[in-house]
């Protein structure tokens, strides 16, 4: 939520500072056919992911709950568009985001000597890696340019690949008489999966030279990705989110 607010503020500020005044001050430029852009920015934190799994332990069931709080990640976005006819174009964008976060782990560990006397251990496994690569195909509406300012409204299907570190087991520190136990760490494995989704957004460019400008992109993309954990168990992660970036645009 914080990421989204900051992003919106940044885009709005860019618009207020550069858009209206410059647009009115410049004559209309000639239509361009290709646009290539590269942006850096941030992707909104995805929804928190929860996972619950069990093991046989001490002839009972050990339950492990894991929460992966999501943080805004850094974003790199590469985009290219081609005006096909009048104000209609097609485009493709590749967004890459990655970072590290924490996993909050809670385990209910059966007692080795007695039934129904589980010990609860909690802990945090840090540096859980997460990365997403999205390929976004876009049908675009190119708003007629007003001076140096160019707008593109775009949307279409996406293909999102997620690579995420998953907690697969918990190590517990315990000693006689085993009435209490402490979190010793988590065993993790890296898993990846892909899924189709969608995207919709707007790309704004302000030309400071004839074919080169600075631009900003705001895009919302979403795909539900099933990450395979172990032994047929999967975790559904809502990948994507609101993306925003600022960078260079080349029009020709």
């Amino acid at each position: 939520m914080i990421g989204r607010t900051r992003l919106a503020t940044t885009i709005a500020a860019a618009w207020l500072l550069t858009g209206p005044s410059l647009a009115m001050a410049q004559p209309a430029s000639k239509p361009t056919r290709f646009t290539i852009g590269v942006s850096g920015g941030v992707q909104q934190a995805a929804d928190e992911v929860s996972d619950r799994f069990s093991f046989d332990k001490n002839v009972e069931t050990e339950n492990i709950d894991v929460k992966y709080p999501m943080k805004p990640w850094g974003l790199i976005d590469l985009a290219a568009s081609y005006r096909v006819w009048k104000n209609v174009g097609v485009g493709v964008a590749v967004s890459v985001t990655s970072g590290k976060g924490d996993a909050d782990v809670t385990a209910s560990v059966p007692h080795p000597f007695f039934f129904n006397q589980p010990r609860t251990v909690t802990g945090t496994e840090s540096d859980i890696s997460h990365s997403e690569t999205g390929v976004h195909l876009q049908l675009q509406y190119i708003v007629p340019a007003t001076g140096r300012l160019h707008f593109i409204l775009e949307g279409g299907p996406s293909w999102v690949n997620v690579e995420h570190e998953i907690v697969t087991d918990v190590t517990v520190t315990e000693s006689y008489p085993y009435d209490t136990a402490a979190f010793g760490g988590a065993v993790t494995k890296s898993t990846k999966a892909s899924a189709p989704g969608f995207n919709a957004g707007i790309d704004v460019t302000w030309l400071f030279a004839e074919s080169v400008g600075i631009g900003g992109v705001v895009r919302y993309t979403r795909a539900d990705v099933d990450l395979q954990a172990v032994e047929g168990r999967s975790i559904t992660m809502k990948a994507g989110g609101l993306q925003g970036g600022i960078g260079i645009r080349v029009l020709f």
Partner: protein, 553 residues
């Protein structure tokens, strides 16, 4: 690191002085050296040097292999037991790839080879370049296992000597899972699994046991070679339960010190779902008793130093009742502490045989019986109350008191099986058990000092007069009126039973001498009450009144 460096220097120095012999070794490398054993089907050489000639020859051979890179030193260590000795371990490599299971252990004295043992494989002739890379091998194994592999599992490319002869270039994985730890060897050319085996050594395990009374409990055992043995590796002391398999002579021989028992005599189970109630209960209840003493009093086992506890069950078979009852009565209808941490639990009686209208089940099936016997061990290593007359009765009483206390610690209060009460052995000697602390007279035992047994039987009535102090303990907790004196006692109440338990434990293990009398026990428990809860505390008043009620002053 410093030590390893100096060892390398020493090895090289030895090599330099052995140039002449090294020349000879070139020839030796191609023909058998004395001290090597060739096995059929593979060029495997087992090294065990026994003569100076063998030592010299192998020293040269090893130095030569070290220079050529066929052997690489893995470890060098100074000998912690013998001065001026060091030990060097080296692995065999074939064109840069380690040969699995091929290594040499060389003992050096002052830099000179003292002994060599090892295994070397000869005649390896395979391509050391893997056709399947590490990632592909990982995928193959993951597919085979039906799950992904932890990223931290790093495979090793090794030459695997095959059991059928020949060699294979393989990726070796060691996969740790909850169920097992296994070694996998994936052929680096075909992707086939060339070898796999369990790499999990003996370990503590938790199983499920059905007790004598049909109840289900957890049991702490040892897993070894696909079997589970009644040896508790989770608690600080070693707790072992031996199945004597109905052999009274063997049991007697062990108790007499004529034979020792081995791990093969331990109770065992193939699937860790234990169904022999006598084995399971003896083992589990011994653990419970240890837990009670540790949690209640901070005591570490019988001798407070985690002495080993050995339970013996099935000393006879019930079906041999007619044969052995005269010679081995205790093995049927008794449980006893034999000293040194050894307990024996009787087999009970055949279902159609009763004593005084009572049936006898496996005696280890009653928690208070097991705790009673183990508490004799506590007495042995503390006050060592002499087992006759009043001190003997106090010895027995302390075991009854602790046996009952353990029951209340682990079981809910109430009547019937697996319930905590003031009867002794009622779960397996049915109906009613052997003794009552709340009403000793119901079993013919005295509840008052004036009624004490003064004969010589039963070591001066150790199992009889225990009723006097048992009644005092009961009254101090639960309160009530002694039937003989009619004196009423205000007990501390069941919720505060811990106070009375601690007082009696303190008095009987720390304050009382070996030849204590009931009067000494009274004074010691009152002293313990003052020590723990202050003068004129409710606990002191309760125990003082209780002793008075049973006629001990």
């Amino acid at each position: 690191m410093k030590k390893e460096s100096s060892m390398h220097v020493r090895v090289r120095a030895v090599s330099a002085t052995m140039v002449a012999i090294a020349t000879l070794a070139v020839g030796l490398a191609t023909r058998p050296i004395q001290g090597q054993v060739a096995e059929s089907g593979r060029d495997r050489t087992t090294i065990r040097t026994r003569t100076d000639a063998e030592r010299r020859a192998w020293t040269s051979r090893i130095d030569s292999m070290l220079r050529s890179g066929e052997l690489r030193v893995r470890q060098t260590r100074d000998d912690p037991m013998v001065p001026d000795r060091a030990h060097e371990r080296a692995d065999q490599y074939y064109r840069g790839v380690r040969v699995f299971g091929a290594d040499v252990a060389r003992q050096l004295r002052g830099g000179v080879t003292e002994s060599v043992f090892g295994t070397i494989y000869e005649g390896i002739n395979i391509d050391p370049s893997p056709a399947i890379d590490e990632d592909r091998a990982r995928e193959i194994l993951a597919t085979r296992l039906g799950r992904g592999l932890d990223d931290r599992i790093v495979p090793e490319l090794v030459v695997l000597p095959l059991d059928t002869g020949g060699y294979a270039l393989t990726w070796r994985f060691r996969v740790v899972a909850r169920a097992d730890t296994r070694q996998y060897f994936i052929d680096a050319r075909t992707g086939a699994t060339r070898l796999e085996y369990s790499d999990r050594k003996t370990q503590a395990a938790v199983g499920r046991a059905t007790g004598v009374l049909g109840d289900s409990k957890k049991i702490s055992v040892r897993g070894a070679s696909g079997q589970f043995q009644a040896r508790d590796d989770l608690r600080p002391p070693t707790i072992e339960t031996y199945d004597m398999k109905g052999d009274p002579v063997r049991t007697d021989n062990f108790l007499s010190g004529r034979i020792n028992l081995s791990s093969g005599d331990l109770g065992s189970d193939s699937d860790n779902d234990w169904t022999d109630g006598a084995v399971g209960d003896a083992h589990i209840y011994a653990g419970y008793t240890y837990d009670y003493y540790f949690k209640r009093f901070g005591r570490k086992g019988l001798n407070n130093a985690d002495i080993r506890m050995q339970n013996l069950v099935h000393p006879v078979r019930r079906s041999d009742f007619q044969i052995y009852i005269d010679d081995y009565e205790d093995f049927f209808v008794n449980a006893f502490y034999d000293g040194g941490g050894v307990m024996v639990y009787g087999e009970g009686l055949p279902p159609n045989v009763t004593v005084g209208g009572q049936t006898w089940d496996f005696l280890s099936g009653s928690l208070d019986v097991v705790a009673h016997e183990l508490s004799h061990g506590v007495t042995e290593y503390s006050s060592n109350l002499i087992y006759r007359n009043e001190s003997g009765a106090l010895n027995e009483s302390f075991s009854d008191i602790m046996g009952t206390s353990v029951e209340f610690f682990f079981q809910a209060a109430g009547n019937g099986p697996l319930r905590a009460d003031y009867l002794m052995g009622e779960d397996v000697i049915r109906p009613g058990g052997l003794r009552s602390m709340s009403d000793p007279g119901s079993f013919g035992d005295p509840d008052h000092y004036s009624k004490r047994f003064l004969g010589s039987a039963d070591n001066g009535g150790v199992h009889i007069n225990s009723g006097i102090s048992n009644q005092a303990f009961y009254l101090a907790i639960e309160g009530g009126t002694n039937r003989t004196s009619g004196i009423a006692v205000q007990g501390v109440g069941g919720a505060n039973r811990e106070q009375i338990e601690k007082m009696f434990y303190r008095a009987f293990t720390q304050l009382m001498p070996a030849n204590s009398t009931f009067s000494v026990a009274r004074a010691a428990t009152i002293q313990a009450a003052r020590d723990l809860y202050g003068a004129n505390s409710a606990a002191e008043r309760a125990v003082t009144a209780a002793w008075t009620a049973v006629g001990v002053n």
